[in-house]
């Protein structure tokens, strides 16, 4: 039995409605309890800001394309490297760090749970291998279905149950957590070097539209009772004028689940552009947030960009090729048979580029114009908009109008006229930030009842104590202190153990991978369907029996069972 007592903590725990109370937190064997014995180890939080462990609900840290980003970028590996020290392994890289680099830096920032944003089912084993080497965060994998042939066939047949059965079998086989759609239909078209330009355009050969894929998958997701909703990277990412596609997509979404959103729209910054060319691109955040503010069934995340050099990586292969044709830098592409695509190119976001400045403003506008912080979560689509180590700066910008004004004064002169950021007075408070960086994520991912995102009795003791005294720091003026405070916790506690102290990792990690097992009735199971098996054996290049990820790839896997179809 191990016991720990965190005393004098200034707790913000939005899920339990606690906002800045000074309290003690008792921990036994990794979970939060009423009280502990007087033999418990004691940490004095000294009235510092204490939050549930940070949760990133959309990041790219593990798997085939992330590793290829590293593989092709020795220049980035040189940009961030540390020696082996104590319990810490060598790390390399700044915007695509090695797995240990990701894990240590997230932990230093108080993050204890991550959702990998895009896992190709065929390459799932790779993602899980890297999860094991990202030891300080609990992991989940969004599983890509955007170009899945069997799913598209079911969509064409208007057979939601069959689509659900395919998803259920696949999630179980690849130990995935939820449904990810990246440019639905577009990744299949990219198999021929094509893309789709609207949600009503049919996918070549399959004769289904993105709109049909999205709506079918939303219903399949709820039929399977998955803890998370469909997680969507909309069509037309990064194209001027794409906000209309985004609005059309949002209009497709019914409100089907009382406990959470029905659609999670990711990195919406990249999907909120007006204009028709790069010369007249402008912000359409007012239209996007008006839609979201009226639709509780939608949660989005920011996809904030920050000015720096970084790497874009996504399953959206055609988008990456378009970007490559603009940037003329190196370009990788990796299409995955019967399932999805992917592309990678490095980019530099510069204040000298009007387009980049407008993108930067759009991300912040989305957060500031969305009324409920539960509906616009904070992230950068790491590393696409910026590496996650930039989150503290994003927090600073959201909390301080003065900080924003100072930054705005340094931007390209065309930015102000094509955005609304200059006019926005809102300054977010500590509670808003707690929602946007952990509580909102826990709710959106459906992991509150797994003991994540809050500090209630029975919750997993994942806790971040930041060296910030909320009673003496005015974030509007002292935003530098806010940024510094969120960069490095005093303590990061993972499952009741102090894993990071003032930015130093002090123990070996022992993370868990959450995955979903939806119980599907015998007569609907696709692994009993001779036609499904035949097509699998004929068109995949691995045998169906070799496709599932063995349990041993998840040394501390935690299965979340759902009673599908009930």
């Amino acid at each position: 039995m191990t016991e720990l007592l965190v005393k004098n903590a200034c707790v913000i725990d939005p899920i339990r409605g606690i906002n800045g109370d000074i309290m003690d937190i008792a921990i036994r064997d990794g979970r939060i309890v009423e009280s502990v014995s007087d033999r418990a180890e004691v940490i004095d939080a000294q009235r510092c800001l204490t939050l549930p462990g940070g949760i990133d609900s959309h990041t790219h840290v593990c798997g085939t394309k992330v590793n290829f980003g590293r593989y092709m970028s020795p220049e980035d590996m040189r940009a961030g490297r540390t020696q082996r020290r104590g319990r810490m392994h060598v790390t390399s890289g700044y915007y695509v760090p090695t797995t240990f680099g990701n894990s240590y830096r997230y932990s230093a920032m108080g993050y204890t749970t991550l959702l990998e944003g895009a896992m190709a089912p065929l390459e799932a084993r790779h993602t899980h291998e890297e999860f094991t080497a990202t030891p300080h965060q609990d992991m989940m994998a969004n599983t890509l279905f955007d170009g899945n042939w069997a799913v598209m066939d079911a969509v064409r047949e208007k057979n939601v149950k069959k689509a659900a059965a395919i998803v259920g079998w696949t999630l179980n086989a690849v130990k995935g957590y939820g449904i990810k759609l990246t440019n639905p239909g577009g990744t299949e078209a990219w198999g021929w070097g094509e893309d789709l330009t609207s949600i009503r355009e049919p996918v070549p050969h399959f004769e289904v539209t993105p709109a049909e894929i999205i709506t079918t998958m939303i219903r399949a997701n709820e039929l399977l009772k998955l803890p998370h909703s469909v997680h969507l990277h909309c069509n037309n990412l990064g194209k001027p004028g794409n906000y209309q596609t985004t609005l059309d997509t949002f209009d497709l979404v019914p409100d089907l689940n009382p406990d959470r959103q029905t659609l999670y729209a990711t990195h919406v910054q990249f999907h909120a552009y007006g204009g028709g060319t790069w010369r007249n691109i402008c912000s359409k955040t007012e239209e996007i947030t008006r839609s979201v503010n009226s639709k509780p069934q939608i949660v989005m995340d920011m996809g904030q960009i920050m000015f720096c050099r970084t790497m874009t990586m996504t399953a959206d292969g055609p988008m990456e090729f378009n970007l490559h044709c603009l940037h003329h830098n190196k370009w990788s592409n990796h299409d995955v048979e019967l399932e999805t695509g992917s592309g990678i190119i490095p980019v530099t976001y510069s204040k000298k580029s009007a387009v980049n400045c407008i993108m930067w403003a759009i991300g912040l506008e989305l957060a500031l114009l969305t009324k409920s912080p539960w509906q616009c979560l904070l992230e950068t689509d790491n590393p696409n908009g910026a590496p996650f180590v930039k989150y503290p700066e994003v927090i600073g910008l959201l909390m301080s109008k003065r900080y924003r004004d100072e930054e705005c004064a340094t931007l390209h002169a065309d930015t102000e006229g094509r955005t609304s950021l200059w006019a926005l007075e809102r300054e977010m408070d500590w509670h808003d930030i707690a929602v946007m960086t952990r509580a909102g994520q826990a709710k959106a991912l459906g992991i509150i009842n797994q003991g994540k995102g809050h500090l209630g009795i029975g919750a997993e003791a994942d806790i971040a104590i930041y060296p910030i005294r909320t009673d003496s720091v005015d974030p509007a003026r002292e935003y530098r202190k806010v940024v510094e405070g969120f960069q490095k916790t005093s303590y990061t506690i993972k499952r009741g153990r102090v894993v990071s102290r003032d930015g130093e990792i002090i123990v070996d990690g022992a993370n868990t991978t959450f995955w979903v097992n939806a119980r599907i009735p015998e007569d609907l199971r696709v692994d009993n369907d001779p036609e499904f098996i035949r097509r699998f054996q004929e068109y995949y290049t691995v045998r169906m029996s070799n496709y599932p990820v063995q349990d041993l790839y998840l040394p501390r896997g935690r299965r979340v069972d759902t009673e599908a179809f009930t």
């Binding site: 593989y71 020795p74 190196k330 290049t541």
Partner: protein, 429 residues
Amino acid sequence: MILNDVVCPFCGCLCDDLELEVEGDRVVRVQNGCSLAEATFMNDTRLPAPIRRTTTGWEKISYDEAIKETADILKDADRPLLYGWSSTHGEAQSVGVHIAERIGAVIDNTSTVCHGPSILAIQEVGHPGCTLGQVKNRADVIIYWGCNPIEAHPRHMSRYTTFATGFFVPDAQRERTVIVVDTRRNDTANIADEFLQMEPGGDYAVLSALRAIVRGKESIIPKKVAGISKEQLIRVANICKNAKFGAIFFGLGLTMSRGKYKNVRNAIELTDELSRHTKFVISPMRGHGNVYGSNEVFTWMTGYPFAVDFARGIAFYNPGETTAVDILRRGECDAALIVASDPGANFPRVAAAHLAKIPTVLIDPHVNATTALSRIHIPCTAAGIDAAGTAYRMDGVPIRMKKVIERGYPDDAEILKKIYDRLNGEMGS
């Protein structure tokens, strides 16, 4: 006993549809496999126990003794090299990286003498590729450049390309155009629709000519380029531009001939150029069964796919300096641990000769040319035969190799873990 859907660990194709008949600790029949697979499973003669060189020959030693002496050699070395890794599973590779980090070693894999130049090219311009199933289901144009799959990857053509039935290519033999570029008329060239016979060292010029034609600059092409006629080059460029889906596969003929990584870069840039007209992809034909896995494991752990030097405490990478052949050639290395490979047979003579001068330990199931250069040889399981583990196919698809028989050897990951634990124990934290 009959085992189905067995993975062959031999080459980068990692065919996973073999049927094996097993009797006790022997494989007695291999179905669906190529001749290389059959040899891998059936001619599997092992070194029975660890051996150490004496002044007159070899003596048998225990595993404990061998492990202790290996740890001592590594601990006492100033510039140790850990090399090989491509024929074992990721689990062993991962322990290898931890050891290298612990003792400040150079760790390198066999890419250094095969597709290392391809990696350098990819680091310059990227890699537009795909999984092999994309090619199988879609490609109507296949190009083999500087490789001979019929000999080296015997089932590549029947599983993924020329003869493979695909969803959009139901009549593969008729619907796929096969183009071979090589300096010699090899077996693969004999079944090609177009064979471009090139003068040795002409790759860069031929690739440049094709790029120029694709860009509409055919007027600047001379009558012949490296022995290939302008007419044929134009014809081939047009086949590529008119393809629905084209796939280039290249081998050591491109990476190891004059121009090296610049050849590969040029081939990638041709692919990029063609991608502006139609769908085109390119992929290296990786040799060893899990050489790509060693690149993957090294990359997520250290940031670099090969040639990683931990001497400065951080991971440092500079191919040409931190590559195994160069460390050995310069006589810099004072101890070597070789795992799952045979540099004795594949390295330049001067590099191999240096291995014989320094304490070299070989961990490999089989006696090979490196045994003759080693001080100690520790036999272990062979991944995919008597050990299970992860391997990455040449296109990045991770596959779990199976254990099909038990032969009583320890797993190399286990041996390495014991060496690592010993080093940790003796070197403190």
